[in-house]
Symmetry: C2
């Protein structure tokens, strides 16, 4: 294997629970209360698919303006709840290690700029790192587009890439891109759920992954 | 089986994600940032054990005054985040169904009054329902004390009780009380994790449990 492609939220930064609660608040304010666990299980999929899933729970379609307003309000509440992004344990060190060891790697996220900028800054990710975000592709996870675009920008074939993600949507998108995948428990999914969704290996967080790079054959 | 004993947070009311985020904020404010998923996996255990787990993550013991201050601040942030408690889908109907069908049942929670009062009110639980809370026993989950005290107040033997809970701590405490248990996914644990922790059956939420009461042999 030659390259690692990372998800961002829940994989490198500790933002999943703030995202869940921000969605829960935004939906409740709009008169569409949805259970926290159902939101949690859908974090990381595209905003459009998320809105369609919400609509299914509610039993009626959401208009484009409703979807836009919800996404905007979610972003506002998220910023209020979590003005400072915190890297997950080992995330900064892992990325630094990969840079020093010259392991090809990038980030591919369903999140959008400017919401992801402070996460990238907290991780110490500079302009030298390939970052593919929602706006760069037509379709987000669980479609494979984000990961395929990242591989292309990294100059490696899909079969040479490992995807590292915390959600089943990352693992499903990886399969569809013909990439192997590694699950991290730091987004709140259990070990079994990640394995069942196709993760080749599961680690607790970026720190444990960093200690286990030898197992993956990416270090030369 | 003659009786059902319910956990409260994540089992009957949709409060888990607010609790996780409130702990995360309270801990971060106190200079002790802890990953959201690690907090999530510990919701439902006793506050004392939770504090000890936090101390282990931090690598130093917490004083009693630190623990008390954290618990107080968690309660404040929780009330700000979630001034209105929302019953999980089917929870109100399930409890009403049990009352009408004269199925013996009670609630046993690691939560304390007055924090749990608005949850009980939202569920329509009146003084006729047995509620055992943290202050009623010496040791909370995963010790079996809450469930054993509830069975005693209900006038049934432990082996005649099903525990219904969303966290592995409920299921572990049920085993130690020699009770069978039912897992609900509404607290954010996956199916496999609940089954592996000893759940005899797993349902999505109280609504699905209500539709499945015939499978449990509690209706006469």
């Amino acid at each position: 294997m030659r390259a690692l492609i990372f998800d961002l939220d829940g994989t490198l930064v500790d933002t999943v629970y703030a995202h869940v609660f921000a969605w829960q608040q935004a939906l409740a304010e709009a008169g569409m209360p949805i259970d926290g666990w159902r939101i949690h299980r859908r974090i990381g999929m595209s905003g459009g698919l998320f809105a369609r899933a919400v609509a299914r729970e509610l039993g009626r379609p959401l208009s484009t303006s409703e979807t836009d307003a919800l996404q905007r309000r979610h972003g506002e509440i998220f910023e209020q709840l979590l003005p400072v992004r915190r890297p997950l344990p080992g995330a900064v060190e892992l990325l630094q290690h990969l840079r020093e060891a010259k392991v090809v790697h990038g980030i591919a996220t369903s999140g959008s700029r400017p919401l992801i900028d402070s996460s990238l800054e907290a991780l110490g990710v500079g302009p030298g790192t390939v970052v593919i975000e929602r706006g760069d592709v037509a379709r987000a996870k669980p479609e494979p587009d984000l990961f395929l675009a990242c591989a292309e920008r990294l100059g490696v074939g899909p079969k040479e890439c490992y995807v590292v993600g915390d959600a089943v949507w990352d693992l499903l998108a990886a399969r569809r891109a013909e990439m192997l995948s590694i699950g991290l428990m730091s987004g709140g999914y259990g070990d079994d759920e990640l394995t069942r969704a196709g993760a080749y290996r599961v680690y607790r967080d970026p720190a444990e992954l960093n200690d286990s790079l030898d197992e993956l054959g990416v270090l030369s």
